[in-house]
């Protein structure tokens, strides 16, 4: 409801009263801060067309969603000015609803060129914007707060609850850092441990379906390969994408080549942690030994052991990359 805020500010500058626009999952108030507007959606539903707790409550139900407009007043008003004002809000909200519909159609792949053109009229080409998909944050009882945190972390163009996830189109110079901040903010403020997929930068609004697919793929790859971390940047996930795109025959061949019976037998949690930490520390022996709290020689012994059992020396790039690929593909099955 970003553009609604502009209308709200302009209206308040004329009326000089508090106004709130409330939907089921969102609310905007001005100039009163949101936390001081204590009327909830259900309460408004029961008191529509009355003056309630110092606000005249109006319902806009010609839009796809139900919205309540609350205007600070001593008694219920039904003047022409108010009617005109409600019309403006209705028109703006309808447009917002339509835009959400266009987005939904576009990302579902079920759209016509005219839908893109209509969206272009509202948002331009969204050049240099990013599309993000947030998983595990669409909690029903805190969705307003989640939206509020998103709005305050990015320069958001659009926030949309869609298919149990939250879709965000945002502009940000450092999108990955901001996505990490968002994940941390959701965790520290609302205890929601979410995954944020960054699909890529838009050069054109027509790229929305592709970038949305990138986000979905990133989330899928996270689940499939048990990728650690809360932020997934699809453009930086080539290793997982390559692993996924290999033919079953080739995958099986790589796994057989690397995960020999002797290696499988020797693999335990200590070995697993060693391999994971070695990769995390960019194959730096000293850093890995420090993280594992083992002597450098102990680490070398373990790496030698992997070499002995697999024929792959993790200190050599040529060996390491294939081992890493096999580790990505086969780790889950191997450890199960």
């Amino acid at each position: 409801m970003t553009s609604i805020k502009d209308l709200l500010i302009k209206t308040v500058s004329i009326l000089k009263r508090n106004i709130a626009v409330v939907s089921k999952n969102d609310r905007i108030t001005y100039p009163l801060e949101e936390e001081h507007f204590n009327l909830d959606f259900e309460e408004l539903k029961e008191n529509v067309n009355t003056n309630y707790k110092g606000y005249s409550i109006y319902s806009l139900d010609n839009t796809d969603n139900v919205y309540y407009i609350c205007i600070q007043a001593k008694e219920y008003e039904d003047s022409d000015l108010i009617k005109l004002l409600l019309l403006s809000f209705e028109s703006m909200l309808k447009k917002a609803d339509f835009n959400e519909d266009y987005i939904k159609k576009i990302i579902s792949g079920n759209y016509e060129q005219s839908d893109i053109l209509k969206l272009q009229q509202s948002y331009g080409n969204l050049i240099n914007s990013y599309l993000l998909l947030i998983e595990n944050a669409a909690s029903k009882d805190s969705i307003n707060e989640v939206h509020e945190i998103i709005r305050n972390t990015f320069n958001t163009i659009l926030i949309l609850d869609y298919a149990d996830r939250i879709l965000v189109i945002a502009e940000d110079e450092n999108i990955i850092r901001s996505a990490e901040d968002l994940a941390e903010n959701l965790l520290t403020e609302l205890y929601l441990e979410c995954a944020v997929a960054v699909g890529g930068k838009l050069d054109n609004i027509a790229q929305l379906p592709q970038i949305y697919d990138n986000c979905l793929n990133a989330l899928y790859l996270k689940r499939k390969y048990d990728i650690a971390g809360r932020v997934l940047h699809y453009d930086n996930m080539y290793n997982y994408r390559i692993a996924f795109s290999l033919s079953e025959e080739l995958k099986s061949s790589i796994i057989q080549k690397v995960f020999t019976p002797k290696f499988k037998e020797a693999l335990n949690s200590e070995m697993e942690t060693t391999i994971e930490e070695f990769f995390k520390c960019n194959l730096n022996l000293t850093d890995t030994a420090n993280r594992l709290y083992v002597h450098r020689n102990t680490l070398l012994y373990r790496i030698e052991k992997i070499y002995k059992y697999t024929g792959f020396d993790l200190r050599k790039f040529e060996d390491c990359w294939l081992f890493k690929l096999a580790w990505v593909i086969g780790k889950q099955d191997l450890l199960r």
């Binding site: 801060e33 936390e35 001081h36 305050n152 965790l187 520290t188 403020e189 930490e277 594992l292 709290y293």
Partner: protein, 370 residues
């Protein structure tokens, strides 16, 4: 403010991977507990179970008197601090600190009081109107801590909060967090893999390895009386020197003979343990902290203190002290000596052992012989 009770806590991940095994601990109100250990030891999993971000496979977790195993994180009255120190870029410091409370619909006057109080504690009152981009790294960290403080939680949970910082800022923030704990008088549970952080910050530290608690103790006691070989090596920098020796009878009393023939006396208490537990004739590990060697050329402890001689391989001047690296009994050891010590690489050095400070460990169990 609250005490925590972790009773038989266990975490098993799918695939039967045990991350934490039988974790038992009583954490008193206002304690600063540090969970420390190498990667994969289960420290973060334990913290996440306390936070409610991870289900507990078995055991009971109490915060105060309340069993919280099935209580969602938001109802546990905790505040978490992570390594990113995320701030809202377009809000002022005041708004950043107030934001969480606004979401919880705390009355404005109370928010104001809490934010100003937290700002006072953190000494950032003068920064309240600034935006994050106008803050230094250290100031940003303090604001992020302020966001946790204003929640007035019963327990602060911190997961490696300093690991993204450069060395200088890390030392600075270490002090800040310790001071914060003193001022707030609230329970802190802090996870780190850095033993220096653990030693300098914790009122008690929990040393973990492979999902098991190795020792729960004050930093001082864990340093002076390590429960086993792992703790002995993990706590202290430079690490404790570990040599092999054999328990022998020396003048009717048990003593430890190193592989080069050096005879080391032990305390009366250890003598009794060695005797009563049948260690005479058996191998033991001998642990000596670097500072428990004395260079006989600069200081002498007396004739009852045995000596060993080696050639200095490396001498590291640290400013206030010098580390001498040499080989004794075919093992590299490090001795911490006075910075005015003139020994350099290639020089011969004779070291005396402060035998009353020597640690012994069972070779089979690696547990301390006390």
């Amino acid at each position: 403010m609250a005490n925590l009770s972790l009773r038989g806590i266990k975490k098993v991940y799918p695939g039967n991977v045990t991350a934490v095994r039988d974790f038992n601990m009583e954490i008193a109100d206002k304690e600063f507990i540090v969970l420390v250990g190498p990667s994969g030891c289960g420290k973060t999993t334990t913290l996440r179970m306390i936070a409610g971000l991870e289900d507990i496979t078995d055991g009971e977790l109490f915060i105060g008197d309340k069993l919280v195993n099935d209580v969602p994180p938001k109802d546990r009255d905790i505040a978490m601090v992570f390594q990113n120190y995320a701030l809202y870029p377009h809000m002022s410091v005041y708004e950043n600190m107030a934001f969480g409370l606004k979401l919880k619909k705390v009355p404005k006057a109370e928010i104001d009081e809490r934010v100003k109080n937290a700002a006072k504690i953190l000494e950032i009152e003068h920064l309240l109107s600034r935006k994050p981009k106008a803050l230094s790294g250290g100031q940003r960290q303090r604001v992020a801590l302020g966001r946790a403080i204003v929640r007035e939680p019963k327990v602060f949970l911190m997961d490696e909060p300093l690991s993204n910082l450069d060395a200088k800022l890390r030392v600075q923030m270490r002090t800040e967090i310790s001071k914060l704990h003193q001022r707030l008088q609230t329970t802190f549970v802090y996870v780190t893999h850095d033993q220096t952080e653990a030693m300098t910050m914790g009122t008690r530290i929990v040393i973990m390895k492979d999902g098991d608690i190795q020792q729960i103790d004050s930093p001082q006691n864990a340093y002076e009386n390590p429960a086993n070989l792992f703790v002995a090596g993990f706590i202290g920098s430079p690490q404790m020197n570990i040599l092999k020796g054999t328990v022998v009878e020396n003048g009717g009393k048990p003593a430890v003979k190193l592989t080069d023939g050096t005879m080391i006396n032990v305390t009366a208490k250890k003598e009794a343990t060695l005797k009563s537990n049948g260690y005479v004739g058996k191998e033991v590990y001998v642990g000596i902290r670097p500072e428990n060697f004395v260079d006989v050329d600069t200081e002498s402890l007396g004739s009852e203190f045995s000596t060993a001689t080696g050639k200095v391989e490396v001498a590291e001047l640290m400013g206030s002290e010098t580390y001498l690296y040499l080989t004794i009994c075919d093992k590299q050891v490090v001795a911490r000596v006075d910075s005015h010590n003139k020994k350099r690489a290639g020089d011969s050095v004779t070291l005396q052992f402060k035998w009353d400070k020597v640690h012994l460990f069972d070779v089979a169990t690696e547990n301390a012989i006390v």
